[in-house]
């Protein structure tokens, strides 16, 4: 199923959420984790992930450090103090939003009122 149009607005929160669970992660690891947790239903492309990572870093929500791993540089991201606070807010907001969407999408319940003469 194609989820890209739904996922676009939530990547930021997903990245922040994953980083609250693990101290530091690199780009591939983040996309692999999203794939794994979504039962391989959601795949973050390079184009969807990296501009968001750079924006979060520029906004001071993430900090990055490089390490040489297997002959190549690997950039690890971790949450800053501000990033941890924003992560909590965003995850809570997204949770509420999903609940609202669920409510909207539920079929209307049969109301007793219509039987009232």
């Amino acid at each position: 199923m194609e989820y890209s149009e739904y996922i676009r607005g939530t990547i930021k929160t997903l990245v922040l959420k994953l980083l609250t669970e693990k101290e530091k992660m690199y780009g591939y690891e983040i996309s692999a984790r999203v794939k794994e947790l979504s039962g391989e239903e959601i795949e973050l492309t390079y184009g969807a992930l990296y501009p968001i990572l750079y924006k979060l870093e520029a906004d001071g929500l993430l900090m990055a450090e490089s390490e040489v791993v297997e002959n190549r540089a690997r950039k690890y991201y971790s949450l800053t103090k501000k990033g941890k606070e924003v992560a909590r807010e965003k995850v809570s907001e997204l949770g509420k939003f999903i609940e609202i969407i669920k409510t909207i999408l539920q079929p209307p319940k049969a109301s007793l009122e219509i039987y009232v003469p």
Binding site: A32, Y46, G47, Y50
Partner: protein, 399 residues
């Protein structure tokens, strides 16, 4: 994956238009992980590489680069505001000087103050500095030394006492701090790669080089138009900040695992000596002719010869022979200058050769080489700095 296989991935990304060094490094790792993932499923490298390549949509990397740059450029920081303000005043000071309006000196000083504030605000507002302290002390010490250097330039313009002390202190402290840091970076390359200063260099290198080019253009315009003293200030800023920046850039070489280990101590020793030789003559009241000539032109000859050796022996560039040969020519030019201004100074032979070194042919040739090979970092740095030094020293006694 082997180094050759990683290089294949690098070439693929470069071919797909991904040129930003920081983004490229990161995506090389990501694509390598994708290739390794396929290899773990039993494919050979070639098959895994082709499969990964086919998975990448057309223009994907170009698009990521564009989007990422847009994201970064949107972020207007206090530091950026001060940088633009300082350069605006620098332009205004140059224009005032050229039009012979009063107040050019004050504007120039205001731009130096702006630059000092830029440095300070960068140190205070940078989120990484607040969050993490790796290399924070060295960065602060270096910034103080640069601010003192800028203050000494203001003192020089105002003919205030204490200029010599300020200049001497800033130059000696910057040599000591950077030499120590260079040795540390050579001994612990992995640690230093994560230091704030390397992070800063990686992120801001394009902006720093643009500033150096602007200083070169202003300095050259003032020199050509009026041969004014202010051009000296522009060139002094270019030589001191340029050599500081390029010196730190060389530390990235120690972090390259595939670089030949024998070339690393050589690079360390030469870069420390060359930096000290370039910076010491700016202590104008302590270093005089002929020592100044020996230090400046000796440093340029040494650096140019080292760049030539790098291209001939250690580089994997396609045009390495051409670049090596051109760097060698720059070394010969600077070496000739050293000899003619010291050993054969005032003789007919000396005058004849100096006429050749400072001929329009050399300036135009170097300028064309700079434009043609602008994308080659080591060569670009060498030609920019030596061309600036040749413009600065044209008809300038004592150097």
């Amino acid at each position: 994956m082997t180094q050759e296989e990683i290089d294949r991935v690098r070439q693929l990304l470069t071919g797909m238009g991904l040129s930003d060094p920081s983004l490229q490094k990161e995506l090389i790792d990501h694509v390598c992980c994708d290739v390794e993932n396929y290899m773990a499923q039993g494919m050979g490298f070639e098959e895994a590489f082709e499969k990964t390549k086919n998975d990448i949509p057309k223009n994907q990397f170009r698009q990521i680069q564009k989007e990422t740059m847009e994201v970064l450029n949107k972020k207007i920081r206090l530091t950026t505001v001060f940088t633009y303000l300082s350069f605006f005043m620098l332009v205004l000071a140059t224009a005032f000087k050229l039009m012979r309006f009063p107040g050019a000196g004050h504007l120039l000083m205001a731009s130096f103050v702006g630059l000092a504030i830029t440095l300070l605000s960068g140190l205070v507002t940078h989120p990484l500095i607040r969050e993490r302290g790796r290399g924070r002390v060295a960065l602060f010490a270096l910034s103080v030394s640069v601010i003192l250097f800028l203050t000494s330039l203001c003192f020089q313009l105002l003919h205030l006492p204490g200029m010599s002390f300020l200049r001497g202190f800033s130059v000696i402290s910057s040599i000591l701090i950077l030499s120590g840091y260079a040795v540390y970076s050579y001994l612990f390359p992995v640690k230093v790669e994560r230091h704030l200063i390397m992070d800063y260099i990686r992120k801001e290198s394009q902006g720093i080089e643009k500033s150096l080019i602007i200083l070169f253009v202003f300095g050259t315009s003032l020199k050509l138009w009026q041969n004014d003293f202010i051009s000296v200030v522009f060139f002094m800023m270019l030589f001191s900040f340029g050599s500081l920046f390029y010196f730190i850039c060389t530390w990235q070489y120690y972090q390259m695992k595939h670089a030949e280990s024998i070339s690393k101590p050589g690079a360390l020793v030469i870069s420390i000596i060359a930096y000290a030789m370039i910076m010491l003559p700016s202590m104008v009241n302590y270093i005089d002719v002929p020592l100044r000539i020996l230090l400046v032109w000796g440093a340029y000859t040494l650096v140019a010869a080292t760049v030539a050796v790098y291209y001939f022996r250690h580089s994997s560039e396609n045009l390495r022979v051409v670049l090596g040969f051109l760097s060698l020519l720059v070394a010969v030019l600077c070496g000739a200058n050293l000899l003619m201004k010291s050993v054969w100074a005032g003789t007919a032979v000396g005058e004849f050769y100096l006429g050749m070194v400072y001929s329009p042919f050399v300036y135009v040739g170097l300028f064309i080489a700079l434009i043609l090979f602008f994308k080659k970092p080591a060569f670009r740095a060498l030609v920019l700095m030596s061309l600036a030094m040749l413009v600065h020293t044209y008809h300038l006694p004592g150097i």
